[in-house]
Amino acid sequence: MGKTLFEKIWDRHIVKTIDSGLSVLYIDKHFIHEVTSPQAFSGLKQRGINVFRPKQIVATADHNVPTIHQELPIKEELSRLQVEALKKNCAEFGIELYGLGHPYQGIVHVIGPELGITQPGMTIVCGDSHTSTHGAFGAIAFGIGTSEVEMVMATQCLLQSKPKLMRINVEGPLNKGVVSKDIILYIISKISASGATGYFVEYAGSAIRNLSMEARMTICNMSIEMGARGGMIAPDETTFNYIKGRLFAPKDKAWDKKISYWSTLYSDTGAKFDKEIHINAADIGPMITYGTNPGMGISVTGHVPTLNEIAAKEKPSFEKSLQYMGLEPGINIKGQKVDYVFIGSCTNSRIEDLRMVASFVKGKKKANNVEVWVVPGSKQVEKQAIEEGIHKVFEEAGFNLRQPGCSACLGMNEDKIPAGKYCISTSNRNFEGRQGQNARTMLASPLTAAAAAITGEVTDVRELI
């Protein structure tokens, strides 16, 4: 019987299997950041033990950092203390830190791939649910809690049970104005915010294979938004070409050896999945969310469901959600006014995202009623955007290009959406209060977000291209 991509990697990383199916899983790479690591470091200190394999850990500061004047000390005291704690801990335990001011600093899920640290066949963890992003390279990558961060620091291993496996096949060419963010928002709207809980997902099919590496990362990134532990895509030429030449990519002979291994990483014909879903790319239009979980997505030309379209059991949470959003059931989402546009986060802050937005807004101006923040995912993305003149395009359009970090994705720094305001966001979560207390988030692709920035309302980007 054939093996799945997941099983090929999983089996290779099992140190041993213990009671009732729990396995000791070896972890190749461990990313850490300032918010979920301090208690893990204190745990080690309390136990009086060291980090087992410091060279397999990479740290950055991203969640809490300001996105203007990063050269100045962080004003907010608790944020500053957390970032300082990371610095101290990394120095003490011998961990490489790409902290504030470092040319490689950025959102943890942006820098791993761009530095060539993320590679096919690896097991990768981070105290952050969007670690699933790295699965785009054909790696088993998933988010963990702080106790698990401590376990990996102490032993480079985790105790895990093997998840169920799901394959989602997306076939056919994409419609005009549709990008990878729309694919994943569409999938989540179909299977719901909990539809993949307990599963690890492999994305396959021609629509996925035709995506660039960065577009694939957007898809895997949001696997967690349907409850999946992680998402992955089999590596191919696109993957290899992306990795080649990056800072930590294997070189020369080592590269050839890796390529021959990486080329074996795909699901064999006949490999068994616990669940398989087929999606026709032709059915997908530009998407937007109207509610407070990522499963509440519709096409920009669609309407918010009417009460009749909602199952009786779901009605209370549906109504609570619309009340929070200040939207009526049944209304068309197009034309809904927008106050803020946030282009950023580990979902959509890479250079391709910025290029996509820049080529659309070139020569256009933002609407007067909107404030637009573009937050690059990393120092390297920022640098490249400036080299390519993208910053000029944004400046002329009235967009505010800021410095790298998680920013308004979770509003842990000053970048918060004010109460009651609507924000079209390229991030991944529209939970209540996610972008600020009582902020109203609508998730969309960078293109749809950019279109709203120009018109000041929810817009079908296809009418503008």
């Binding site: 140190v15 041993k16 213990i18 009671d19 009732s20 000791v24 070896y26 918010v35 979920t36 301090p38 208690q39 204190s42 745990g43 033990i49 087992f52 969640h63 809490n64 608790l78 944020s79 203390l81 957390q82 704690a85 105290g127 952050d128 649910s129 988010g143 963990i144 809690g145 702080t146 106790s147 698990e148 376990m151 102490a154 032993t155 480079q156 291993c157 985790l158 105790l159 049970s161 998840p163 915010a193 909990s194 809980t197 307990g198 409850g227 532990r229 979980n293 949470s317 609570k320 979770l410 509003g411 842990m412 109460a419 979560r429 939970f431 209540e432 209060g433 996610r434 207390q437 009582n438």
Partner: protein, 196 residues
């Protein structure tokens, strides 16, 4: 943090809202601490308090009628962010057990690692719990980890729940995964040489 769990008999607090994400359990702005303590005071912060810090009377945690060591929650509890702070906040507030028909994966692991017992029950049993508590907020629930049962008192109507055997032993005895993994470090080192 109290280590080890066995039998818990208590009244319960029902939070009958589906898809409760960890941003609701503990909003990001409270994640700036570098220790594990004190998160309980901000549990469900924005549902419990207005922006001026006044308690919201319509939220169940502010209703003195409901209290206890058991949180009864609706489907897909703990989805979203991996923040373990969510489990810390629930435990720190005083809960030892969370009951739901469906937990998000990372949350369940985080709970187990903090001696907060996640009990998955059927949709119908969950409904029974909600109904019983609504009818009589003094209803007691008994959760027996050793026997893997959850029972509605006084009728004793019960359901069995699943838990991994290893995890159960850990919870009963107050061990954690790190203790286990540190003990097999030699095997891990051997494994490393075998893959390189």
């Amino acid at each position: 943090m109290s280590k080890s769990i066995n039998n818990i008999k208590s009244t319960a607090v029902p939070v009958n809202i589906e898809n409760v994400d960890t941003d609701q359990i503990i909003p990001a702005r409270f994640l700036k601490a570098t220790t594990r303590e004190g998160f309980g005071q901000n549990l469900f912060r924005d549902w419990r308090f207005n922006s001026n810090g006044q308690p919201k009377n319509d939220f169940i945690l502010n209703n003195p009628t409901y209290h206890g060591k058991i949180l009864v929650a609706a489907k897909n509890f703990g989805c979203g962010s991996s923040r373990e702070h969510a489990a810390w906040a629930i435990k720190d507030y005083g809960f030892d057990v969370v009951v739901s028909s469906f937990f998000a994966d990372i949350f369940r692991n985080n709970a187990l690692n903090n001696f907060l017992l996640p009990v998955t029950v059927s949709e119908s049993f969950l409904q029974k719990l909600f109904d019983a508590i609504k009818k009589n907020p003094g209803t007691e629930i008994e959760v027996n980890l050793e026997k893997q049962t959850i029972a509605l008192l006084p009728s004793g109507e019960q359901e069995k729940f699943d838990i991994n055997n290893y995890k159960k032993t850990c919870l009963l005895n107050g061990y954690d995964d790190i203790d286990y993994l540190l003990n097999i470090k030699n095997e891990i080192e051997k494994f490393e040489t075998s893959i390189n």
